[in-house]
Symmetry: C2
Subunit: 181 residues, 2 copies
Amino acid sequence: MSAEERRESVIRAAMSEFAHGGYNGTSTEVIARRVGVSQPYLFRLFPNKQAIFLAAAQYCIATTREVFAEAAKGLPLEERLPAMAQAYQKLIHDDPERLLMQMQTYVAVAAAESEGDREFGEMVRRSWQELWDSVHVDLGGDVNETTTFLAYGMLVNTLVSLGFPAGHRNWEGFYESARPE
Amino acid sequence: MSAEERRESVIRAAMSEFAHGGYNGTSTEVIARRVGVSQPYLFRLFPNKQAIFLAAAQYCIATTREVFAEAAKGLPLEERLPAMAQAYQKLIHDDPERLLMQMQTYVAVAAAESEGDREFGEMVRRSWQELWDSVHVDLGGDVNETTTFLAYGMLVNTLVSLGFPAGHRNWEGFYESARPE
DNA sequence: GCTCTAAGTTAGTGGCCAATCACTACCTAG
DNA sequence: CTAGGTAGTGATTGGCCACTAACTTAGAGC
């Protein structure tokens, strides 16, 4: 397998592991094992652990952005928001790890930032800004709508992280908001 | 100083440290140093590290609940939401660590849960449910309004964690939503 | 068949960290 | 004055973990 292919499978494995364990709670050993490769080899593919995490975080944000873009594509403006909301609901169901990884990314940035590492956060913010802008455009350029949409997404992330099961009453508000007005 | 007083100051110190470093990124050593006490003594006051984290997490959620309750107290129904939103804005400004600790709590639950530790999450969910219920009552029992309010709070948490500075355009939507309709 | 390169491994190191154990200092009640 | 409880420390340990260095294998081109 080429180094580039390996790198990609490392990123996917890293996303799964970091999603559950977080940056400090996930050893490079378990990532390597999941990829099916020796642990030191990861450091041939990436300069250090943080770079692996960053790659996984950016992959996670980028693919989420694509999910939204895909859901909105070709629809008239007023149908896009419910379509994107529904796409996110599907994402939660099919691939909850991606959403946990998002949360892990946010706190990892906070941690890096308060250790004086500014660069890491800068990269993540750039990726996140692309997501924001993409959603913003798809929703017709209305700031309030974009903010509201993402806000609901973040509450979903929280409820999933906290392990509130689907169907719990904290989820009630969502079925309303995903429906067209 | 009595053990009970010490325990309380440990909780406050732990909140500050865990807020930045997260569960796995924060050593008991630095908590102890901040309290001004030897590291082994923490294990006289708490059975283990997780118990320290849990106490800090619950303290954090409980005091946040009180901030909301305080802000809403005595106001007519339609003035409560903006007052609570404003109180949260103030909280972000005065004590951003509390909000980072919230994020750390969410991911810590996810981590514990996927290691098979169900009890920890159960405790946190209970605290969080109390927060939800308290806000729900204060906002007049409207599920959608409660959900929306908390959703905005979660987006704020995210933006702060990611280190987007106040005044950044991602924040624009908030000044609208904090204003009465 | 030989060499060069790219993929991959084994063995090891220095540092950190949660938790334990055995001990000390001080206060208070009888 | 002494016995016991309470607050607190120093030393230690066993295990993990990021990262390095040196070695191995296998295919491709000549």
